[in-house]
């Protein structure tokens, strides 16, 4: 309550006259320039990042989108009972089917006014082993004999790459036994006749991995299933364990050297390279758990083991995010709850946790997305194998050998056939789509939880 004299607003007589407000002082000019410079740096940084992102997306899309398309040849074909009996009675059965197919295709072309000569060798170079495809179809569906059937046969990977601009006619040497210039003429003619067209490549989405004899038939489906089962394991293990651990550490644990030690180590674990978790998983789960303890479910290449390893990797991320979310809840809420006689647990579960929920969910989904894209630990536990079938049962999805999205991409990228490289890029698009979906879910959940208050 001291009575300080108010500052005298009038200029003191004889003091230097104050500069006009209309003129900017040198000091002010320098400060303004510094601010303008900083804004410029920011703009440059943002535009650089934006440009790089555009380049990246452009690269991925231009290289990967063709994987979602394939060229197919549509042929209407009817197999008579006599033809079936005749073909099944000779030694080279598929050769017979191929002969029928060539006849049917020639007829179809002739109907459209095209008279082309082609032998079974060029058909094989164009469409692969058609006879075998036809035979297995009729053996699986005996009712189809005598009925008109429309076959959509994928072209060989070389024809496909030719139409996708992978190589030019001039690139084909005279000794190339996979494709000749005449084959390409035939393919062009088929395209003009409307028999050969481009269609969406469902096989890529739903199919399984194939060997190098059929790169065009390779699909990402089985590895998506593998990733799905791994994510299930990660979600079921790391979310409850991570959230429970964070709540205990943040709200209940006494502050002492031991908890400090744990805190530091959790932060360090988040920075441990993922391959270390991979080798840990190999040693603990597969060699010790599956080997010494003889736990049947813990086998190399099993998504269960992959999920366990990725859970270890995701836990620190979830714990750190959850603790940050819990810390950001104002202490006044805890005091208010305790003040009306809530127990510590009631205060946490009724008031603190709901407020921290958006942050926890964001952290969990970031952790899951990280786990989904992780490849290195999977290499060590053998999830990069050649997997050409879907799991047959639900439990088989956990225990049976499988691959995962990123591991499949890695696998394809290391193969020699250009079609596999294209599929690797296509796989990256699928992976990015999953990431996008997960982020979308995170945003929707966050909105939902925030709207409640």
């Amino acid at each position: 309550m001291t009575d300080a004299a108010p500052a005298d607003p009038r200029p003191v007589q004889g003091a230097p006259s104050r500069p006009s407000l209309l003129a900017t002082s040198d000091r002010m000019k320098r400060r303004n320039a510094a601010e303008a410079r900083f804004r410029a740096y920011g703009l440059i940084a943002i535009s650089t990042a934006g440009a790089l992102l555009v380049v990246l997306l452009w690269n991925i899309l231009s290289a990967g989108l063709p994987a979602f398309q394939r060229t197919v040849v549509t042929v209407d074909f009817t197999l008579t009972e006599d033809q079936f009996d005749a073909a099944e009675s000779v030694l080279f059965k598929t050769r017979e089917y191929e002969t029928y197919f060539i006849a049917a295709l020639s007829d179809q072309l002739r109907d459209r006014g095209l008279d082309l000569e082609f032998d079974s060798a060029s058909v094989e170079r164009l469409l692969g082993k058609v006879g075998a495809t036809l035979r297995s179809h009729y053996r699986d569906n005996p009712d189809a004999i005598g009925q008109p059937v429309r076959f959509e046969l994928p072209t060989s990977s070389r024809v496909e790459r030719y139409f996708k601009g992978g190589f030019a006619r001039a690139d084909i040497g005279d000794t190339n036994r996979f494709i000749t210039a005449a084959d390409l003429d035939l393919a062009d003619a088929l395209k003009q006749a409307g028999v050969l067209r481009t269609a969406f490549n469902w096989t890529f989405v739903t199919g399984v991995d194939t060997g190098s004899d059929n790169p065009g038939g390779a699909g990402i489906g089985a590895s998506v299933v593998g990733s799905f089962f791994m994510m299930l394991v990660v979600l079921v293990l790391s979310l409850p364990i991570g959230v429970a651990a964070s709540i205990y550490l943040e709200e209940f644990a006494p502050q002492n050297r031991f908890t400090d030690f744990i805190e530091v180590n959790i932060s360090n674990l988040a920075a441990v390279p993922s391959i270390v978790f991979g080798i840990l998983g190999l040693a603990v789960f597969i060699q010790f758990g599956g080997g010494q303890l003889e736990i049947q479910a813990l086998k190399a290449s099993a998504p269960l083991v992959g999920g366990l390893v990725l859970s270890l990797m995701t836990l620190p991320t979830i714990i750190i995010a959850t603790r940050a979310a819990l810390k950001s809840v104002p202490p006044s809420i805890r005091e208010a709850a305790l003040g009306v006689g809530a127990s510590k647990m009631q205060a946490v579960f009724h008031h603190v946790l709901p407020l921290a929920m958006p942050g926890i969910l964001t952290g969990a989904i970031i952790g899951l997305a990280q786990a989904l894209g992780e490849t290195a630990p999977l290499l060590l536990i053998g999830m990069v194998g050649f997997i050409a079938r879907y799991p047959e049962t639900f439990m088989g999805g956990f225990e049976g050998p499988n691959s995962a999205l990123p591991a499949q991409i890695y696998n394809w990228a290391s193969r020699s056939d250009a079609t596999f490289i294209e599929k690797a890029w296509g796989g990256i698009i699928v992976l990015l789509l999953f990431m996008l979906t997960m982020n979308l879910i995170a945003i929707i959940l966050r909105r939902r939880f925030e709207r409640r208050w």
Binding site: M1, P254, Q255, P330, S332, I333, R334, E335, A336, A337, L338, G339, V340, G341, A342, S343, Q346, H350, H351, L355, W453
Partner: protein
């Protein structure tokens, strides 16, 4: 100098509700409360005044064991509620806080509806058996906090959407909903404007009918207006404790006189 009409109106000796003997509070190595002896009387408003950092808020938090939530805080001495030691190992602080309610400096309603804010305490303590009973408790508590008429048509709206003064009265309603015997108020008006302050002060005077109220305040005018007994804290000591009229008009201790006349603090 101070308006002490309330204080002079009621100077009869009431039953002792809470008392402290040789109370010491330590934060780590630092002692925040030294040898405090005090008797808080029932159905009276007791004000704790003193300069910032004198320990009045700390001592208030001793009375419902809110200091338990601070890991480094340590309380010694005998503090009793109705003659029972509240720091006895057998006492569950949660049960104690249901009987000794608290209103905080900053209004801190839960980010839930007005109804749920008031109903939360009764709900966790199982004070109502049905919806109708709970409705009655909520209405009674809001009426006691002089908030019912303002919010009765929007009970389902968030409590955080109210004005500061309304929020603080909501917090008071929340505190009285559990039917506590003692109500602790830690500078309940420091975040409020003068109109809201006078509303809350009126409310405190009415709450005296049913509860023993202990209020920490920075404003000596407020202490003089609402309290019957006043305790002056300085540097962790309880310097003087007596009837409000006596403290403000005829303090016995030199430090009390210096403080109320504005020389220290």
């Amino acid at each position: 100098m101070y308006d002490t009409r309330n204080a002079e109106r009621d100077v009869t000796q009431n039953e002792i509700k809470m008392s402290a003997r040789k109370c010491q509070v330590f934060y780590g190595d630092k002692q925040a409360i030294i040898d405090v002896d005090i008797d808080v009387e029932d159905k009276m408003v007791t004000a704790f005044i003193g300069p910032s950092g004198c320990g009045k808020s700390t001592f208030l938090r001793v009375l419902n064991r809110m200091n338990d939530t601070i890991p480094i805080a340590r309380v010694e001495g005998a503090i009793t509620l109705d003659g029972e030691d509240i720091y006895d190992p057998r006492v569950d602080p949660v049960q104690l806080r249901a009987r000794v309610g608290m209103v905080f400096q900053k209004p801190n309603p839960f980010p839930k509806s007005i109804y749920d804010n008031v109903a939360y305490g009764p709900r966790i303590h199982g004070l109502a058996t049905g919806k109708a009973e709970m409705d009655a408790i909520v209405e009674k508590s809001l009426r006691r906090a002089a908030l019912w008429d303002e919010v009765k048509d929007r009970l389902q709206e968030p409590g955080t959407g109210l004005s500061g003064g309304q929020q603080q009265r909501l917090c008071i309603a929340r505190a009285v909903a559990t039917e506590p015997e003692v109500l602790l108020m830690d500078e309940p008006c420091s975040a409020l404007d003068p109109i809201a302050t006078s509303q809350v002060e009126e409310l405190i005077d009415e709450l005296r009918e049913s509860y023993s109220v202990v209020i920490v305040t920075h404003s000596m005018q407020q202490a003089a207006r609402v309290s019957q007994k006043t305790a002056f804290f300085h540097l962790g000591y309880l310097v003087e404790y007596g009837e409000t009229g006596q403290i403000f008009t005829n303090p016995r201790d030199e430090r009390t006189e210096s403080y109320i006349s504005g020389r220290i603090g």
